[in-house]
Structures are given as structure tokens and as C-alpha cells.
């Protein structure tokens, strides 16, 4: 295992190095630069011009700058943004990261849970009405033009039903006279969600040890409802519940749209793998053992179909920034995707490079995690 992991890490480092190099030279090849706008400006004296040039490092040859960039990259310094000067690229990324990550983690988790359940059911009832209907709807949502879905959802929920805000991260009117920042509150919300997740996982592990199904259920419901009530009352007591609610309200529509858009991907993968697994002899054996249908489906078939779903999950993480660009534009959501679009239009090269490099690192780490998870999920895989 360790040997495999170290080999994999070396591979990843090499890949990353090549990737960063390509990204850097690609951006270098972009015609014009952020500075040109200023350098063209006749009001700027040659002195300031030189100063600016030196500050941004444009006085040195490209090669030097490349080496410099790589050196900084090694200590996780991605440079300084042009358009947000003198903010560091890393700090911009980390400011926006929670928003994007939250958007995507929530929608991905929900859509995978959804896709897993639907996929296994429709494979189990292959050719029946439920299978036909879910496959059809799934493919339509999978291939729908994402902006169309976003517009449609805004129209339906925001305009016709009027129950959800149309776009933006917060409602500016509400936040006018507030002393704390939305970012702070959002991070607290995230922390709350994280605690919730941990409680959920702990309970799952504990309930495995319990004997009867009823005890499991009671423990699960009591503790989950308990956590929800406790966190809600803490929010109310702190007096910030209304602001937290505002953020949550703004989150619903993008999360819903993304979930709708991506659940079919996992569903179709799950369905196809399940169809494959169902033919295996151990499924017949499980049925012959007199196990109830549900146990055969969930414990024996679905468990074996999990692996390809995992692969799909990891690949879909790479989609985060691409999908983010569209969704965040549609909902004016200040996340990484929007930052990318803005950086592109402003020719903010360091930010562009930083965002691309960050995505690369993110995807590669996800691949590594997937490799480790594989070994847990499939006892046959021992590195």
C-alpha cells in the first residue's frame, strides 16, 4: 500500500509539474496583458511605468519569470492578482473556495445519493415502467442545456412561485446595517453543516453495532432531529438566524439546479453497472439463500456496483470549475467559476493561472483519494 501510494504521489507530482508548465506558457502566449492597458495610458509617466513593470515582474525575461513562478509554486504561493492588486491569488481562491465547494459538494452528494438509489432501482426493475421513466427523464436532464435549466428554475421558483430569490449570494437590503461579514456567517454555516455530517457518520457507525432494526432507526432519527434542533436554536439565540436563513435561501436554487442536472450521470452509471452485476452467480446464490429481494439488491448487487460509481464521482470533480462557470454566472454566485470568467475578461493572468493550477491540484488529490478508497471498497485490490 505504502509503496503504491508513494509511486502514485511521484506520478502526480510529475503530472502536476507538466500541467503547471503548460498552463503558464499558455497564459504567456495570450495576446496583450493586463499591464498593456496601463502602459498605453499616456498619463502614466515612464517612471511609474517602469515601477509597475518591475512590481509585476514584467521587466524580467519570460524564462526567469517561469522559474520564479515554479519556485513560488513549490511553497504554494501563486503570486499576486492584477485586478485585485495587491491581494494574493491564494487568498482570493480561499475566500471564494468555500462558496463553490459548498455549492458543489452539496449538489454532488445529493445527486449521487439520488442517482445511486434510482439507478439501482431501475436496474432491478429493468424494462418496467419505472426503469423507462427514470432513464428517459435522467437522460433529458443529463443533456439539458444548463443555462436553460437555470433560467427555467429562476423563472419557475423565483418569478412564478416567488418563493426563492432569483440570484446573488445575499440580499443586500437585509445586510445593509450589519456589523459582521457574510463570509464569516457563511463559514459558520459550513462549520454547522460539517458538524452535522460528522454526527451523521458517527451515528451510522454506532448503529451498525446495534442489534435490532428498530433500535437503529430510533437512534438515527432521534440524534439527527436532535442535532437539527440544537443547531437551529443556537442560530436563533445568536440573533443571526435571519441572516443565515437569507444565505440558505439564496443557495437553494443553484444547488437544486446543479443536482437536477447531474443526478442522471451517476444514475446511468449505477444502472449499467448494476445490470452487469445482477448477472453474476453470487446474486443467484444470494437469492437462493432465501434473502429478501431488498437485501439481495442493496447488500449484494449495489455494493458491488459502487466501484465504477466512485470513478465517475472522481471524474465529475474535474467538472467543478467548468460547471461552476455556467451555474455561477447564471445565479451571480461569487465563486471560483465567476472569478475565472472575470479574470479572463480582465486578463488577470496570475489569477487565471492560479485558478487552473488549483483545479489541477484538486483533481489530482481527488484521484489519490479515490485510489485509497478503492482499496477499502474492494478487498481484491491490494496495492
Amino acid at each position: 500500500m505504502l509503496r503504491f501510494l508513494s509511486k502514485r504521489v511521484v506520478q502526480i507530482v510529475i503530472l502536476l509539474f507538466i500541467y503547471v508548465t503548460i498552463v503558464f506558457w499558455l497564459m504567456e502566449a495570450l495576446p496583450g496583458s493586463f499591464l498593456d492597458k496601463y502602459l498605453m495610458n499616456p498619463k502614466i509617466t515612464p517612471e511609474i511605468r517602469e515601477n509597475l513593470k518591475r512590481q509585476f515582474g514584467f521587466d524580467k525575461p519570460v524564462l526567469t519569470r517561469y522559474l520564479y513562478y515554479m519556485k513560488n509554486f513549490l511553497v504554494l504561493d501563486l503570486g499576486v492578482s492584477f485586478s485585485y492588486f495587491p491581494k494574493k491569488v491564494t487568498s482570493i481562491i480561499f475566500e471564494r473556495l468555500p462558496r463553490t465547494v459548498f455549492l458543489f459538494v452539496t449538489s454532488t452528494l445529493v445527486s449521487y445519493a439520488f442517482g445511486y438509489t434510482l439507478g439501482k432501482r431501475s436496474a432491478w426493475r429493468r424494462g418496467k415502467v419505472i426503469d423507462q421513466v427514470t432513464t428517459f427523464t435522467g437522460i433529458v436532464f443529463w443533456t439539458i442545456f444548463l443555462p436553460l435549466l437555470a433560467i427555467f428554475n429562476i423563472w419557475l421558483f423565483g418569478v412564478i412561485l416567488g418563493i426563492l430569490p432569483l440570484n446573488q449570494f445575499i440580499d443586500p437590503n437585509l445586510w445593509r446595517n450589519v456589523s459582521f461579514s457574510a463570509q464569516d456567517l457563511f463559514l459558520k454555516l459550513l462549520l454547522n453543516a460539517f458538524i452535522f455530517l460528522i454526527v451523521f457518520l458517527t451515528i451510522m457507525i454506532i448503529s451498525r453495532r446495534l442489534k435490532t432494526i428498530n433500535a437503529k432507526r430510533i437512534l438515527l432519527y432521534v440524534s439527527l432531529i436532535g442535532t437539527i434542533i440544537i443547531s437551529i436554536s443556537i442560530w436563533i439565540l445568536s440573533g443571526r438566524a435571519i441572516y443565515a436563513w437569507d444565505i440558505i435561501k439564496h443557495m437553494v436554487l443553484p444547488v437544486f439546479t446543479l443536482t437536477l442536472y447531474s443526478f442522471a450521470g451517476s444514475m446511468l452509471v449505477m444502472r449499467d453497472t448494476m445490470l452487469d452485476v445482477i448477472r453474476e452467480d453470487y446474486i443467484t446464490t444470494a437469492k437462493a439463500k432465501g434473502l429478501p429481494d431488498k437485501v439481495v439488491r442493496d447488500k449484494h448487487a449495489a455494493r458491488n456496483a459502487l466501484l465504477p460509481l466512485m470513478t465517475n464521482f472522481v471524474i465529475s470533480l474535474g467538472f467543478t470549475i467548468s460547471g461552476g462557470i455556467i451555474t455561477e454566472t447564471m445565479f451571480s454566485w461569487p465563486g471560483l467559476g465567476r472569478a475565472y470568467l472575470e479574470a479572463l475578461s480582465q486578463q488577470d493572468t496570475p489569477l487565471l493561472i492560479g485558478l487552473l493550477v488549483f483545479t489541477g491540484v484538486f483533481v489530482l488529490i481527488a484521484h489519490l483519494v479515490a485510489d485509497i478508497l478503492y482499496a477499502f471498497l474492494d478487498p481484491r485490490i491490494r496495492y
Binding site: Q132, F136, F145, L148, F152, W155, D276, I325
Partner: protein, 326 residues
Amino acid sequence: MVEAIIKEPLWKIRLKLWARSFKTGWELFREKKLALFGLSVIIFFAIFGLVYPLYPSIMRAVFWKDDPFGYQTFAPYDPIIGFDPHIMNHPSPPSLRHPLGTDPLGRDILSMIMYSTPREFILGITAALITVVIGTIIGASCAYYGGVIDTFFMRLADIVMLFPSLALLMVLSAFIDLTLFRLALIIGMLSGFGSITLVLKAQALTIKVRPFIEAAKSTGASDAYIIFRHIIPNILPLSFLYMMLNVTGAIFTEATLSFLGLANIRMSWGVIIQMAESSGYLMGASIGTYWWLWLPAGACITLLCSAFYFLGRGLEEIVNPRLRKR
């Protein structure tokens, strides 16, 4: 009997075999309702795009009999420079004159959609064709030669897959003028060197160990001959299937780029929606009021994308026996 078979030219036998496998394939295909649905949608759009030239003349004969001058000057059904002077406010809602209404510049939406249809086909199919040709050749060669070639292309695929394709295309749009063909070429190459190589290589590897490859080698066939005559024909069904799925991806990518206003394409379904967005008709409460600006074009993108996807999945169940019903 035996002589009769030999006397028949080889191509005739091949043709017969092709016809037979096509027939069994069609028999299987016919049972897939969803795939049939996809095929009919594709055929519908093909016809829809082909009859475009008739549309302005029909409209002229019906609505512009009294005003040939206006028709000549304003070309009301031209998808790019058209304008209808008889309507006061543009965008105007659907009416008999303009079945899907007009856009903010006074152009006829139906005409824009029809005009774009063949272009979507060209883009999707060109991109997918490039993808599949690259993927098939590289996949087959990697599987056949192994070694350095294999390692090189596999690492290349790793790197290409590392790039978020939409983000990369957005950067490229800054220094390449993304016309329809260039866009198709780039989309095709990006997915051609990427994941599709892995899939096709895996398939080619299963072919490589079959006895007939060994047999061909022992008769002294050249590497190229074996790759092109023995390996590639056997992975072609899978390639074809991936082609269908890639059409979906290519059309989607083009629409997104056009929607973001980053492609240099004068008219496409994505451009229609972009037009609505950039002139502010997708803001707030007016979304529903001006539905004809985004709904028909968006629906067309979705329909055509899912049609190719349905078709691809239908073919998958034929090509991939493990998905067939018992």
C-alpha cells in the same frame, strides 16, 4: 457449392456480411424505444434544417404579397441582418407573421433557429468524427505496440483530462478566433486525446490477444496492415457509439461558449440565448414575459443533445453485449 463461394468476389461477400450484421443490429435496435425516439428527433431536425430555404419564400408568399418593397429592403426573415418594419416593438411575441416571435433586433427567431440547425449538425459531427478518428487510431496503436508509444499517449491523455475543457476553451478563445470549424477541430482534439483513448485502448487490448492477430502476424502482415485491417474494424462499433455520445458533448460545448459570447460564430442556438441575455431580457421578472427569446433555442439544444445521447445508448446496448437483455 464450395467453388461457387470462391467465385463470388470478396467485396460481394463482405457486403453480404455487412448487410446481415446491419439487419440483426437493426432488429435489436428497433426494440429500443428510447433510441428510436432519438433517431426520429435527429431526422426531424435534419429535415427541419434542410427546409430552411423554403421558409422565407413561404412567408413572403403569405404575408408580404402587398409589400414586396419592404420585403426586399429589410429581408425580414434573414437570420442575421433581418428586420420587420411592420412591427413597432421588438422583441415581439409569437404571431402568425413570426411563429416564434422576433428578437430585440427584430430578427425572426424561427428563421434563426432553422438557419442554425445544419451548423449544429456540422459542428457536432465534425468534432465527434475527429475525436473518434484520433481516439481509434491512437487506442489501437497503443494497444498493439505498447511500450513507449503507449506510455506517451496515456500520459498525454492524463494531462488532457486534467484540463477543465470549458475553462481551457475559454482561454483559447482569447487568442484563437473560434469559428465553427476551428471550434469543432479543437473540441474534437481535446476529447480525442483524452478519455476516449483509454476506453478504445482497453477494447483494442481484448482484440489484440485474439488468435486471428497472431495468425495475421504469422503470415507476415505488416503492423499497419494488422492495425487497420484487423484491430480497428473490431473496435469500430464502439468508436461509432462514442461518436454519438461525443456529438452531444460538442453541441453542448459550442452552445455554452456561444452563450458566454466567447466563440466567433455569427448565428447558433447558443448565440440566440446569448442575445437575450446580453440585452437584459433574462433579468429578474421579465424572464417569463420574453420566453420566446430563450425557450425555443434552449429546447432545441436540449432536444438534439439528448437525441444523440439516446441514440448512443441504444447503440451501446447492441454493441456492448453485457448490457443486452438476457
